[in-house]
Structure formats: structure tokens, C-alpha cells
Amino acid sequence: MIRDVEHEAMPREDLEALQLRRLQAVVERVYHLVPFYRRRMDEMGVKPGHIRTLEDIRLLPLTVKQDLRDNYPFGMFAAPMDQIVRLHASSGTTGKPTPVAYTQRDLETWAELMARSLAAGGAHRGDIVHVSYGYGLFTGGLGVHYGAERLGAAVIPVSGGQTRRQIMLIQDFGPTVICCTPSFALYLAEVGQEMGVDFAKTKLRVGVLGAEPWTEGMRAEIEKRLSLDALDIYGLSEILGPGVAVECLEAKAGLHMFEDHFLPEIINPTTLEPLAPGETGELVITTLTKEAFPLLRYRTRDLTSLNYAPCICGRTMARISRFQGRSDDMLIIRGVNVFPSQIESVLMETPGVAPHYQLIVDRDGQLDTLEVQVEVDEGAFSDEVKQLQALAQGIQRKIKDYFTVSVKVKLVEPQSIPRSEGKAKRVIDKRPH
């Protein structure tokens, strides 16, 4: 279902004209309001007036996370505090969080884009939306919350944790839509199974899942176990929060980016050269309408590709492919680039292993080692040692074939890999730095 046909299904030509107008306006704004951008552009000899076509975006400076840290806490804001009505912060796993700000109009835009996202999954007035994203500084909870309200749906603002209680609420309150991380969705399925809950008997119809990369295999597993349609949603606090891009229920093939508000590019993360549609590289986003926290060419570190082909849902907005990982999640094992999502895709096509895994990176002398810990479920268990060894070796061989990296697969007992109630911790790197 398309909430805003005028924008979401806008002819590309009109959309690009709108993007150019908005790009010119945002460049003008940051040049005058954000000292960091003025300095950068002056150093590069670029003036706002130089932006005459969308391609001219390449004249503009890239922005990286470190720039935000260097301007901690509020140096990147383009609006005075009396215009700012909300602050959030990215989940800074290292050091200080990165604060982001919203004016009243930014919040309106966010709610609208999040409402569009839920509508893309078929949600509408009358639905009950169960929000298990954390509420607080993290943008997940409140972002989805206001979008669902904007849509006219009823919200259960349950936030994270208390899994058994959440399952009780799913049974008793009858939410039709659930929003959480894919790893939490799986965890719900697992705890529900222990509790003897048949999710097919609940009213859940669609899951709008995001905040971490996941695979098609994981989608199939979630859809089967929770008995719903699982859609991928993308967002990051620096750009907005959830609601930057979302999959449509009709195609489930790539996430439509709301291009009337964000201008995506794909670049080679090493050379920083632009890549053509279809080529995989780092996603770079320029915010076109943000007032309080506009960013030019922000390097997301997320690896994907852009697809401008028309979609069966009718949207003209470009789609980003399912994420292949983050350029900073990338593990370099004995010189080979490995993404946790690649290992996951191998595990998901192996019958009998549970969708929980952990990667342990270590160093043996000068050599990096990668151990893949996988839980053995009843489907794969055998009373014969050779069968279990064959299972482990099979996975090892597949990973070696696909990614040319030798790993050790260790079969572990069910439930022994820590479950996440938020973002899953897939990698433990024990290498000395």
C-alpha cells in the first residue's frame, strides 16, 4: 500500500528535479549555518552556487562518523536550540555517543516517513503495532512509535526485554504488526516455542524488522516460525532513525529509499569513486530536508547497491539491496574479507543448524583463526560421531568454497550462544590489537 502516491510514485524526472531543488537548498543552509561544512567547502573551493545538477553532488565533501565526534556534542547542528525539540544519540559502542537533533518539522517528517514505511508493509488505521525496539536515546522505539500513531494505528510501546511478557501481550492484545530487530524476532519465536505458543494462532500479520543486517534465510525462518510477512527496514540515527528505506510487501526485493528526503550514492569505500547502479559499495546519503541535523554525503559504512528498476508495487523510489554487511563489520581473516552475513547465509542453507551463531576471531601465533560456533538442533543431531563431524565439516567446506577462508566449525549445545534482546552480537574478536 502506498501512503503518499504523489511522492512515492513520482515520475523519476520530477523526483530528480525536486531532489536538485532540495539539494541546492540544503547546501546553501549548511554552508551558512554549520562552520564545519563552510570550512570544508572553502578548503575545496566549492560554493553552494556550484551545485547545478545532481551529479554536482560529487563536488561536495564526504562526512564520516569521526567528523561528528570531532564536533561533539552539538557542533554539527544547523538550528539553534530554541528550534530543536528532540535529541537522540547513536548507540556509541566505542566512546561517547553521537547526538542528533530534530526540529518540530523534522519530527513531522520522520513520523510521516515511518508511517509510509509501515504502510509499505500493509499496515493501516485499525492495526495494532507492537514496538519492541528500545525506547530512549536509541531512535528505534520512538521513531516507529510516532510513525504508527501518524498512520492511525494503535501502538503497544513495549520496548525491549521481558520476552515472556511480550509474548503474553502478543497473545492477549492481538497486535497485527511487530517492529523489532530480526534477532529479537527469532528469539521471540524460540521462547514462544518453549512456552508452547503457536504464532499462527496470534493475529501477527507483518514484521517490520531492522537495525541489523540479516539474510533471506533468516527471513524465511522468521516468517515460518512467527507466521507473518517479514520486511526489512533501514535507518540510522545520523540520517533520521528508522524510516529511511523499507521493503514493500508486494516485492520483498530491496528497500525503497524515500528519495524525496534522502539522496543516495554508492561509492567504492577505498577509492571513494562513485559506483554505477547495481554495483556494490558503501551507501552514502545526503539528507535533503533535515533542518536540525542535515548531513552532506554521509558515509554510512553499510554495503549495498542501488536498483532504479521500476517495482511492481508502483513506487518509483530506488531500492537498496539487502545489506551485505558494514564496511566496519568486515573481518579480515588472513587477508580475506569476510562478512558475518556471508557466514550466516551458509548456515541458513544448512539443514539442522539453529539460526544462532557466533564468530570467534583469534590469533594463533601470526595466523588469524575464525571459529564459527553453531548450535545443533534436534533435526541434525545424531548418535553417531561421524555424522556430526560430517555436519561440521560440510559447513567448513562450504565456507571455504564460497569465501576461500578456512574456518573451524564448532558445534555447541542449544541455548549456549547468548540471545540478544536488541542487536545480536555476532562477532567476538579476541585478537590482540
Binding site: 545424531s382 556430526l388 561440521a392 542449544p414
Partner: protein
């Protein structure tokens, strides 16, 4: 003629075996025979217990991966060459023994050996034709 064996997946970590025996003990389940196959990373504990269904239930409740296998309990004369006789019968017909282990308890003057075969029906047939006694499940659980 077949005996139900429970197998349990164990990680090679201190206390896992103790945990299995504790869970069974608390549920009042008696272990009749057991064998542990181990590799560097994991082990497979194979058990014959007096209450199969209950054992399976309590172990699953505690989150263990549990499997069921049908095995054969064979009466073997407790004297030199006793086991050899049984194995020769099987080898002569190409029946493969996947693994085997002895019962703690004797049955009269005889030992009881648990066998896991690749071809269970054929093995039972062969041994019975040679007059070797195969225990029924209920007999084994009560032994």
C-alpha cells in the same frame, strides 16, 4: 526386540555430564547402561534408562539436544570368545557394528551388550537364527 536408547549432545565443557546425571537423578530415572563417545569439541552420551519417555522429557526441558536410536541388547556368554562368536556371525553377513557397549549388570551367567547396527533387522534375524538371545525392551529397562 529393539531397545530405545537416548543420546544427548554434550559440549566438551566441565560439568555437562554431571548436569545430565543430576537432571535424571532428580527425576528418579535410573541409568541402566551408558557410553560416551567423545571428540575434541563435543561428546555424545548414549543412555539406556528405565523410563525412556520421562528421561527424554526432563532432558529436553533443560535444553539438551536429545535423540532417539533403536539399538539391540544381545546376550553374550560371559567366557573367553563369547563376544567373538557374536561378532563373527555378523561379520560373515556383512552387518556393520556402528558402536557397542556393555551393560553394567549381568543377566545370570551372561553379559549384556548393547549394539548399534547399520542394518538392525538383519542383525536381529541373523543372531536369533544362531540361537543367540536378544532381549526385549522391557526386560532391558528392568534389568
Amino acid at each position: 526386540m529393539k531397545v530405545e536408547q537416548i543420546s544427548v549432545f554434550l559440549e566438551n565443557k566441565a560439568g555437562r555430564l554431571a548436569e545430565v546425571t543430576r537432571v535424571l537423578g532428580e527425576a528418579g530415572i535410573n541409568i541402566r547402561a551408558l557410553s560416551l563417545a567423545d571428540t575434541t569439541d563435543f561428546g555424545i552420551l548414549r543412555l539406556i534408562v528405565d523410563q525412556y519417555d520421562r528421561a527424554r522429557e526432563v532432558l529436553k526441558d533443560k535444553g539438551f539436544t536429545v535423540g532417539k536410536t533403536e539399538v539391540v541388547a544381545v546376550e553374550v556368554p560371559d567366557r573367553p570368545g563369547g563376544l567373538g562368536l557374536v561378532l563373527q556371525i555378523l561379520a560373515a553377513s556383512g552387518v556393520n557394528v556402528e558402536y557397542m557397549y556393555a551393560f553394567v549388570q549381568h543377566s545370570g551367567k551372561n553379559a549384556v551388550i548393547i549394539f548399534r547396527f547399520d542394518n538392525l533387522e538383519q542383525a536381529i534375524d541373523l543372531l536369533q537364527k544362531e540361537g543367540i538371545y536378544i532381549y526385549k525392551g522391557e526386560e532391558v529397562y528392568r534389568l
